[in-house]
Point group: C2
Chain length 493, copies 2
């Protein structure tokens, strides 16, 4: 059945619908029979696997190792850190029984009341509590520190309003949990991982991000400081793409994790945690894609190149395929992933539309005339342009083109963000500007009251206090009180 | 603190305690605060990651792609396949609520009775039901088939008696779920994946396995046939290391998954599923390790080579380190993973014991005298032998040695299995022989009654009906009735 590309709602008409259409039609994910939980389909999962592989490499290069902790958290553990429980108790999946049985009155399968758990178990919304309870037994002395562990896992937060990838009840993520002997080292770790996330977002996802600190009200439940990377989507809304938390000694105190320091004194251990999730898929999709479908950065595309043969008969097909196989071999030798779509049940036009929808960065078409002329048609997904290129040296040409596309879509997103970022000095102006979307750099008096007032009146939140932003002091646009530096406001996903 | 190797119980004294000691002392895993759930520690997880990487590559080479399906299964889904629900309903984690709240009487955090789910959710014990419910929407025509999907995931089965890696309430695994247009193709798929598992077990884990079919009573709940690989542990007990199921049309019928075949007729889809889990870690540990600790196959060892410097002063340390760095570079160029342990807080003797415990296949020690002589001390973990080898060409020497070790531990396990496998023709003899452990090849009349009687009286089960075994007919050792071929009995984990 021919896919109707036209069915993709255009971004101008309804950005939100465009996103939903695209996720479904590009075969990335779909809603499951379980409320709020998604099925990540093979094409979507292949992108996630590429993200995982790069992140995992970056974590290991910065000295981290992987481990695995239980899915379940005893209810009592959640309660031990006061702010943490406040943040997660209201939206969690609670396991209360460990057996089903056939109803004696023939009403089918029921929960066996005799199999009630002594203590309820929470499906992890995040793993600080179970991990710090474990770390207590691993840490005695400063010699046992630091512990630099990451976990790839699924987590559950019972969100009421869900959207594929952006907000789902179950999602996949990684969570780093590190333990340190000093406050300084823990802060350095939290900052280091923020920069790892930013490097990944910019160099692999081609998504420019702001690096900053969250305001107190937007911090992770249990953190002293939350660092974040913030991206800007094409509809002018912000998306938090990753967070790294300096947890101080909060979890060490809650779980009684102490160590003997170099001065032979007992001290509580210092902690960080940091995570990115399948939400990154949403950021990736919304940053680059267009009304024709996905646009994928070459560094994360499951296939970087697709080759479509053009032929009228079996003889032409054989001749084209022979040439294609040579090209495939050369491309693979350069580490370029390539798919030769020689399916004879589909027409070239169908394939062109399909791979445009799927965001394959480069498409080659090769026909009988190309064989005569020693040429190949090269189409770029990002610019939707085509050109005829000599077959000679095509592999280096493609290698360079992939780099160019990667750089180009990053630059395009960077330019868009620049065009959508402006300083605003009055609250009246703010109310007008926020309707246009984008990042607004404004002075704020630093109080949660002012922040809350702005949020209520405009739906804008402080996305971050930029780490490398302009540090010039000023006065709050709402209260006129002193402000240490401009902070970034936006409406957000 | 020096690790006391002596604390490892010897296998002769108590094999079961030896296993538990080893898993803990080699830092592979430990029990968590959550009943039956383990923490997989970094060293154990590093081995699991190596297993995952190889299996994932093998799955992809055989045409499979990865995807992800929800953690939760609606209770009603479990009931749809009659045998399946029978197999899993009695030991499952049931989510009944989606919120906690502070008790109004100040008794702490309680389950919010107002947040009761309309339908309970089961934490997946396996995913056939949720996946086949999803496949219904993916399959209309034979052109949509086959679907060849694998999932890496955690699953929960509420086991009452748990042992690290071997039987835990939560475990990590992969589960393949494929959909086919014909019975023949589905059976071929189930068999193909059995052979992938066997290849992996033998060539990477160095664990010889029998390939066979389960008897009806040992089949997966919902399967028409269950193929399995069976390994023999050093205590003479069998361990089921992987299963591959031909599911017929059972799940397609339960979830109404039909397709239009080439003859334009509606037909139910044919299915397979297949899985291996962190249980493989148990098989790996128990097949090769000894009273000194782990013995790891080079193909799965996190570090294949460790290098320990021997020195009396800073000057010697620098000279040795310079040489070591050359060797490290050469080894890495050959794709050999190597760790240089230059920690100056630990003595060489401590390090030797530590890496013996951790099962590192090859240990190099290099001291000042070695520098003079152009030699290096090479110790093999499998044989516990040492030799002095010329520094010249050491990298090729190590490369060959790693291959030799891989082959040697496989052969050793194969020889052990051969010595522990025998034909038994009378039930009296069987009762004597089963006490000695090992695989007993016996004639059986094919009835569940006889199988059950043998199990009750001897604790032995039919491990498999071998695919490639002796097909000579005979008479059942218990009933004297006709038997088509010998089957494999053993006591099992």
């Amino acid at each position: 059945m021919k896919k109707e590309i036209k069915e993709l709602t255009s971004r101008d008409v309804d950005y939100s619908q465009w996103y939903n259409d695209l996720v479904i039609k590009a075969d990335l994910a779909e809603n499951s029979a379980v409320r709020g939980c998604m099925v990540i389909k093979p094409y979507g999962y292949a992108i996630w696997e590429k993200m995982q592989a790069e992140l995992d490499r970056m974590f290991k290069e910065t000295g981290h190792v992987n481990a695995y902790f239980p899915l379940f958290i005893p209810k009592s553990f959640l309660s031990k850190e006061a702010e943490h429980v406040e943040g997660f108790a209201k939206e969690c999946a609670v396991v209360t029984h460990h057996r089903l049985k056939q109803d004696p009155d023939g009403l089918g399968l029921i929960v066996d009341p005799e199999a009630k758990l002594e203590e309820e178990l929470i499906v992890r919304p995040t793993s600080e509590t179970i991990i710090w309870n474990t770390y207590r037994n691993w840490i005695q002395s400063y010699r046992d520190l630091p512990i630099l562990i990451n976990q790839w896992a699924n987590v559950v937060r019972w969100e009421m309003r869900t959207r594929l990838f952006l907000r789902t009840a179950e999602f996949l993520w990684q969570e780093g949990h590190t333990a340190h002997a000093t406050e300084k080292e823990a802060i350095e770790e939290a900052e280091k991982m923020l920069h790892v996330y930013a490097d990944f977002a910019e160099n692999f996802m081609a998504v420019p991000v702001l690096r900053g600190l969250k305001s107190a009200s937007e911090r992770f439940a249990g953190a002293i400081e939350t660092y974040c990377i913030e991206a800007l989507m094409q509809d002018g809304k912000a998306l938090q793409a990753g967070t790294s938390h300096f947890l101080g000694q909060n979890f060490a105190k809650a779980f009684d994790v102490t160590f003997v320091n170099k001065e032979n004194q007992q001290e509580h251990v210092w902690a960080t945690s940091w995570g990115v999730s399948t939400r990154l898929m949403g950021a990736l999709i919304m940053t680059h894609s267009d009304d024709n479908g996905l646009v994928l950065p070459p560094n994360l595309a499951p296939y970087q190149v697709v080759i479509v043969p053009i032929y009228r008969n079996e003889e032409q097909f054989r001749a084209v395929s022979e040439k294609v196989n040579e090209i495939v071999t050369k491309l693979r030798a350069l580490g370029i992933s390539v798919k030769y779509d020689d399916n004879d049940q589909k027409k070239p036009g169908w394939k062109f539309a399909e791979y445009e929808l799927k965001g394959v960065p480069v498409r080659l078409a090769i026909g009988a005339r190309d064989l005569e002329n020693g040429t190949v048609e090269v189409a770029r997904r990002d610019t939707l342009t085509k050109e005829i290129v000599s077959m000679e040296g095509i592999e280096e040409y493609i290698q360079n083109l992939l780099k160019e596309i990667q750089a180009n879509i990053f630059q395009k997103a960077l330019d868009y963000r620049a065009s959508m970022t402006r300083e605003v000095d009055s609250y009246d102006e703010f109310k007008v500007e926020i309707e246009k979307g984008g990042f607004l750099l404004c002075h704020w008096d630093g109080t949660p009251e002012t922040e809350e007032k702005i949020k209520e009146e405009t739906k804008a939140t402080i996305r971050c206090i930029p780490l490398n932003g302009d540090k010039t002091p000023g006065v709050c646009m709402v209260t006129g009180k002193p402000s240490a530096q401009r902070v970034v406001f936006a409406r957000a996903y």
